[in-house]
Each structure stands twice: as structure tokens, then as C-alpha cells.
């Protein structure tokens, strides 16, 4: 019984194999091109000055510190709002909800939220937060817009990790006469905290990458402010700054520097998410 596949079968297998290798090759090559191109173009322009100053018109210099800070501020603010909202909703859906109709409605809402493009979030955020709630174009408006935008991600990942908690734990706790909230607090949540953290990290990655929703809600000033001051003022995050520098001002050097920073951030979020995720898997045994 030596290898003797008919030619037709051999040809089919060969073609499919070739296509797969080709496509994977293209994908990998593309990724490497992006990484190397950005690295080569940005490394010469990195300097302590560009990372630690704000842009000045008077002496014609550029720094990205305000953008870095704005990014951090907006992420912190968003997380502060989105975590309780998202985790709470996820808990409701997986642990409490009984009515199929209500669950269907909420899940439909979440799906809809997830599908809305960011430019529409930008517009409605502008209408609702900047105008209706008169928060002006500010980091706070931007953060609140991001809250709604990222709710679905948070809810879903939390739901996913809640679902990985073995039903046996819940039954065990109920069987001992624990109430539902008590059971969730003492057994379920401690069990899936890593999963929730993974979700947060991934959501953070999305927030860092967001631009269209922030352009009209958080604006693109490069002012250097303290946390609370910054919330009430307009400010560019790194991505928005990249857009502005690259597209509107033709400042490619700084744009490359920001692109490199973003690439590194994306790498870090992915790595830490998969690290925490792996730990999560392990603890599940």
C-alpha cells in the first residue's frame, strides 16, 4: 500500500495547498512590510524632545506629549464608565435574565451598537454630548462616546468569560443555600476576573485605535493639561493627532513617530491580553 493517489486527486490537493501557502505568505509579508516600513521611517525621528514636549507655533517645534496624555486620560475615563455598565449588563444577561424577549431585545441592542460605524458615533456623540448636554468638544464628550461604542465589546467578553465558569460552581453554591448575588460575588466573579481583564485590555486597544468618533467629539487640540482640566477641554488622542499631522499638516516625521507608538501599543495590548487570557485558561484547568 504505497502512496498512489490518482492524478486528479493529487492535482486538486496540490492546487489547494499552493493557494493556502500563497495567501498566508501574502498576509505575513504584508504585516512585515507594515512593521518594517514604519520602523525604518520612524526610528530616526524619535527623540526625547518629541516625546516630552507639546507643539509650539512660536518656535515651530512638534511634540506628542499632549497626545499621549490625552490618550491615557480618555482611556481611563472611558473605562471608569464602561466597566460597571458593561459588566453589570453582562451579569444581568448571563445570570439573571429569564425573559427570552427581554434578553433578545437587549442582545439585539448590543449587536446594533456593535455594528454602528464610528463616524456615526462621532456624529451622534457630537449631537448628544457636545450639544445637548453642552459638554462642548472635550475629552469628556469623546470618552462618553467611546463608552457607548465599547459597551458591546465589554459586554460580550464578560459574557463569554461568565459562560466559561462551570455551571457546577453555581449549582454547588446554590446547593449550599447561597443567594444569587452572593453566589456571583463570591464564586463567579473571582473565577472569571482574568477573562474580564482580557476584555478590558482588548477594549483599550480599540479605544487607542479609534479616530473617527473622536474627531468631532474630542477635537484635536494639542494642549498640555492636568487630568480634570483636560476632560473639559478639547484634545487630540494619538490616532487623531496622527490623522491631523499626516493628512492636514503634512508633518510626516511626527506622523511616523505616532504610527510607531501606536504599533507598539497594539503589540503590547495583544500580548498582555493573550498573557492574561492564557492564565485564565490555565486556571480553568
Amino acid at each position: 500500500m504505497q502512496n498512489n493517489l490518482p492524478l486528479r486527486r493529487k492535482a486538486y490537493c496540490g492546487t489547494m495547498n499552493f493557494m493556502m501557502l500563497l495567501c498566508t505568505g501574502i498576509t505575513v509579508a504584508l504585516t512585515f512590510f507594515l512593521i518594517i516600513y514604519i520602523a525604518v521611517e520612524s526610528i530616526p525621528h524619535f527623540s526625547v524632545k518629541i516625546l516630552t514636549t507639546k507643539p509650539s507655533y512660536l518656535d515651530d517645534s512638534i511634540g506628542v506629549l499632549p497626545d499621549i496624555l490625552n490618550t491615557i486620560y480618555i482611556i481611563i475615563t472611558t473605562l471608569v464608565f464602561v466597566l460597571p455598565l458593561g459588566i453589570g449588563a453582562a451579569i444581568y444577561l448571563t445570570e439573571y435574565a429569564k425573559s427570552k424577549k427581554l434578553v433578545g431585545m437587549i442582545e439585539y441592542a448590543i449587536e446594533s451598537l456593535a455594528g454602528i460605524p464610528s463616524i456615526i458615533y462621532g456624529l451622534t456623540g457630537m449631537l448628544i454630548f457636545c450639544q445637548f448636554f453642552s459638554l462642548k468638544t472635550s475629552l469628556l464628550s469623546g470618552a462618553l462616546t467611546l463608552v457607548i461604542m465599547n459597551l458591546p465589546t465589554i459586554i460580550r467578553t464578560v459574557q463569554e468569560s461568565l459562560k466559561t465558569v462551570p455551571q457546577g460552581y453555581r449549582e454547588g453554591a446554590f446547593g449550599l443555600g447561597a443567594g444569587k448575588w452572593h453566589m456571583i460575588r463570591t464564586v463567579v466573579l473571582p473565577c472569571c476576573i482574568d477573562g474580564i481583564v482580557t476584555g478590558c485590555i482588548l477594549a483599550t486597544g480599540r479605544m487607542i485605535g479609534e479616530s473617527a468618533a473622536l474627531l468631532f467629539t474630542a477635537g484635536f487640540a494639542h494642549a498640555l493639561n492636568g487630568f480634570f482640566d483636560a476632560l473639559t477641554h478639547s484634545g487630540a488622542t494619538l490616532t487623531v493627532a496622527l490623522y491631523v499631522y499626516a493628512k492636514e499638516q503634512g508633518e510626516f516625521e511626527v506622523a511616523f513617530v505616532i504610527a510607531a507608538i501606536l504599533l507598539v501599543l497594539s503589540f503590547i495590548t495583544n500580548m498582555s491580553a493573550s498573557y492574561v487570557g492564557r492564565r485564565f485558561q490555565k486556571s480553568k484547568g
Partner: protein, 245 residues
């Protein structure tokens, strides 16, 4: 308590307002100055809705806007017609410019350049620069743009990268990545704009709400903007200061 001045509007005024604001903040430690470069249209709306202290417009107020708003011209800005530095064309008449942008002249050969197609780069509808340019060159509504870009910097980038391109930008943003052509023999400079010999120009306007009391910080800023001290800053930013009426 700390005072704030918020300005919102024209992106063409970015350099001017940015420089003024920076100098202003340096001078008054207790005033926070913010500038939100959103566009003339949003700036005017923002001033109307009270979302900012001062709106910034790179065009004169329209009649219906002037009913509720005050516009004060801060400076004059030349709109420079720019081409790629490699382009041999140095001078164009208003008529030629108009024909080019209307698509009646499509090759650089017809205006003394190489035998290559002309690529028209414009600004998006609503832009103050576009409005000013089209009004003066009499090309309103009839420009055949290949690209409509949302900022001055973008126009410069595209023109600097494409040998066939022609565009228009604010003098304030001019640098040597692109080449400004003379219009009917006159180059856009501070004196030619001030005396009106350079034809394509428009005002930079500070917009405030009619009848409303300006905040103390905003008043300080306006005073500063029209002070002698501000003049060199405006000139350095590439615009021609105008005395307050």
C-alpha cells in the same frame, strides 16, 4: 479663579491663532487658551450656540449670519496658487487660473508648461479658502477638482508629491515644498496683499455673538490680538495685520 478663552473654527487660521494663543498664554498665566480647529462653518455655529467664546472664520460673514453675529477682521490672508516645484510654469493670469479650474484648459502645455495633464486639487465644500478662491477667480460651482481635500496641509502634500498638480492654499501656510505662482505678475507678499495688488485674498475674522457680554478672558484675548505686540506674531505667521475698526 482661572479664566478660559475657547476659540473654535477655521483650520486655515490654525497657524495664526495657534501662534497668537501661545504668546497670549505665555503672557497671562491665569488664562487658559484653547483652539479647536474644526472649520469656519462649525466655528460660526459654535459662536452662535455659545459653545465657544470666539468663533474663527476665514471668510466674511454671510448676510444672514451677520444678523446675530459680529465679525471683526483680524488680518488679511493671501490665497496662493501653488504648483509642484518641478513645474516650469511661473505666472498665471486670473483668466488662465479660472479656465484651468473650470476644466477648459487641461494640459500644462497650454499655459507654457510641459505636455502633461493638469490635476486640480481643491478644498472641500464649505471651506473658507475654497470660497475665497472661487469667488475671486469667478469659478464658483464650476471647478472640476480631481481631489477635494480637507486642509491646507493636505493640499500642499499632494501638490508637492504630484508634478501635475495645481492647488491653492493660504499664504500663512506657504513653505518651500510647493511653488507659488505669481498672479498677473504679482507675487503674494505682505505688501502686495496690504495694498491690494495681489488679487486673491480674503479676511480672517473673529466672530462673536451680537449683544452678548464677552468673558473677561475673551476680551483680554481680543485686546491682545489687536495690540502692537501681536503684529510681529501675525506677520511671522504669514498674514497681514489689519487695524481694528
Amino acid at each position: 479663579a482661572e479664566m478660559t478663552v475657547s476659540t473654535d473654527g477655521s483650520t486655515s487660521m490654525e497657524k495664526v491663532i495657534g501662534s497668537l494663543g501661545e504668546a497670549f498664554s505665555n503672557k497671562y498665566d491665569d488664562v487658559t487658551f484653547t483652539y479647536n480647529p474644526t472649520g469656519s462653518g462649525s466655528g460660526i455655529t459654535a459662536a452662535q450656540e455659545g459653545r465657544c467664546d470666539i468663533g474663527l472664520s476665514s471668510r466674511a460673514l454671510k448676510a444672514d449670519e451677520a444678523k446675530t453675529l459680529d465679525g471683526t477682521t483680524l488680518a488679511l490672508d493671501g490665497i496662493v496658487v501653488v504648483v509642484n516645484p518641478a513645474n516650469k510654469v511661473n505666472d498665471l493670469s486670473i483668466d488662465q487660473i479660472s479656465k484651468i479650474f473650470k476644466g477648459e484648459v487641461t494640459s500644462w502645455k497650454d499655459v507654457g508648461g510641459a505636455d502633461t495633464p493638469i490635476v486640480l486639487i481643491g478644498r472641500e465644500a464649505g471651506s473658507g479658502t475654497r470660497d475665497g478662491f472661487e469667488t475671486i477667480t469667478n469659478t464658483k460651482d464650476s471647478c472640476k477638482y480631481r481631489q477635494e481635500l480637507t486642509s491646507t496641509g493636505d493640499v500642499m502634500t499632494v501638490v508637492s508629491k504630484n508634478e501635475n498638480a495645481i492647488g491653492y492654499i493660504s499664504l500663512a501656510s506657504m513653505n518651500d515644498k510647493v511653488k507659488g505662482v505669481t498672479v498677473e505678475g504679482v507675487a503674494a507678499t505682505e505688501p502686495t496683499i496690504a495694498d491690494g495688488t495681489y488679487k486673491i485674498q480674503r479676511p480672517f475674522v473673529l466672530v462673536t455673538k451680537k449683544g452678548a457680554q464677552l468673558s473677561e478672558g475673551a476680551q483680554k484675548f481680543i485686546d491682545f490680538a489687536f495690540s502692537e505686540e501681536a503684529k510681529p506674531i501675525l506677520i511671522k505667521a504669514g498674514v497681514v495685520p489689519v487695524a481694528k475698526k
